[in-house]
């Protein structure tokens, strides 16, 4: 019974990496870091683990997630879900998106999987393309003029926004003038 209890305690606590005699206990500590864009910053109350014997402190999954979430918010970074929405909206592959935007295909893959954090300028650019179809079309025409031939303006139907604008145009007025 005693052995079983001892074993249970041993499996639950994480032994210290440095002294191996103590065990890591959850603590909450401010994390001080530096970001090229944000400068020096302090992230409050980051969950960490500290050895009760030697004081060695490590950052586990919770702490890393907290720091990453804080930086994502502070940098107003586009989320992987938004990038996926951008690809889905325009039916783009990662390769095609790379050709169109000029970013590396590997970078797009890393942003999409959340491995790396895109910069603020990249985030803003992709957000504009995601929200403004006309901006995307202009970029597409600029980078792929051949697409014009395959998609002639005469054959193109006005979208909802264009239809609204056409309704507002008062054609007889300029004629009178």
């Amino acid at each position: 019974m005693k052995t079983a209890k001892k074993l249970k305690v041993r499996t639950e606590s994480i032994p210290c990496f440095e002294c191996e005699g103590g065990s890591l206990q959850p603590v909450s500590q401010d994390h001080q870091t530096h970001h090229p864009k944000l400068g020096n910053l302090t992230i409050p109350a980051v969950p960490m683990l500290r050895c009760d014997s030697c004081g060695t402190t490590v950052i586990g999954e919770d702490g890393n997630s907290r720091i990453d979430a804080f930086l994502d918010k502070a940098l107003n970074v586009i989320s992987p879900a938004e990038i996926q929405a951008f690809l889905d909206k325009y039916k783009l592959t990662q390769k095609r998106a790379a050709e169109l935007t000029g970013y590396g295909e590997k970078n797009i893959s890393r942003w999409l999987t959340g491995r790396a954090r895109p910069s603020e300028s990249v985030s803003n650019f992709l957000r504009v393309l995601l929200s403004e179809s006309s901006a995307f079309e202009r970029l597409k025409m600029k980078n792929f003029p051949d697409a014009l031939k395959a998609y002639p303006a005469e054959a193109r139907q006005p979208d909802v926004e264009e239809k609204e604008i056409l309704k507002l145009v008062d054609y007889p007025a300029p004629v009178k003038i």
Binding site: R10, E18, T57, V58, I59, N64, S65, R115
Partner: protein
């Protein structure tokens, strides 16, 4: 040090060549890769500036661990020489990104916790200064 007007003679290759660190066993390398792929078994050393390097280069922790696991799957790991006899055995490698990536080569120190099952890893990240002495050798098997 030198007599005034005396000519200095530079002898090429006079310095001893740095010795290659010993390779870590493949079983250890596999244990570390397994631990790196499990979010509950991987930790960053808070005392070093490990996390600050990731923040500076806009690397998310999940991505960094995945990159390191991928790197160790193909490159060798080395034993880190001990400064003191009672120190735990550490391992070292260089995580080198491709030329197209904006990230620098990172010097990685790994501490494997042999106590407690399953084994866990503590990673310390440094800007690479040993990249010249730690070669990237592809694993055969």
């Amino acid at each position: 040090m030198f007599a005034l007007g005396a000519k200095r003679h530079y002898i090429p290759f006079s310095r001893p060549m740095p010795t290659l660190p010993r390779k870590a066993p493949a079983t250890i390398r596999r244990q570390i890769i397994e631990a790196l792929r499990d979010p509950a078994r991987r930790f960053l050393d808070q005392n070093s500036s490990s996390r600050n390097h990731l923040d500076r280069w806009d690397l998310r922790a999940d991505g960094f661990f995945a990159d390191l696991a991928d790197g160790l799957a193909s490159d060798l790991l080395f034993l880190k020489p001990k400064n003191q006899a009672n120190q735990p055995q550490r391992y070292q490698c260089v995580l080198a990104y491709s030329e197209n990536d904006p990230y620098p080569a990172l010097d990685i120190h790994v501490t494997l916790s042999p106590k407690g099952q399953p084994p866990r890893v503590m990673i310390a990240v440094h800007e690479s200064d040993t990249v010249q002495t730690l070669p990237r050798i592809y694993v055969d098997s």
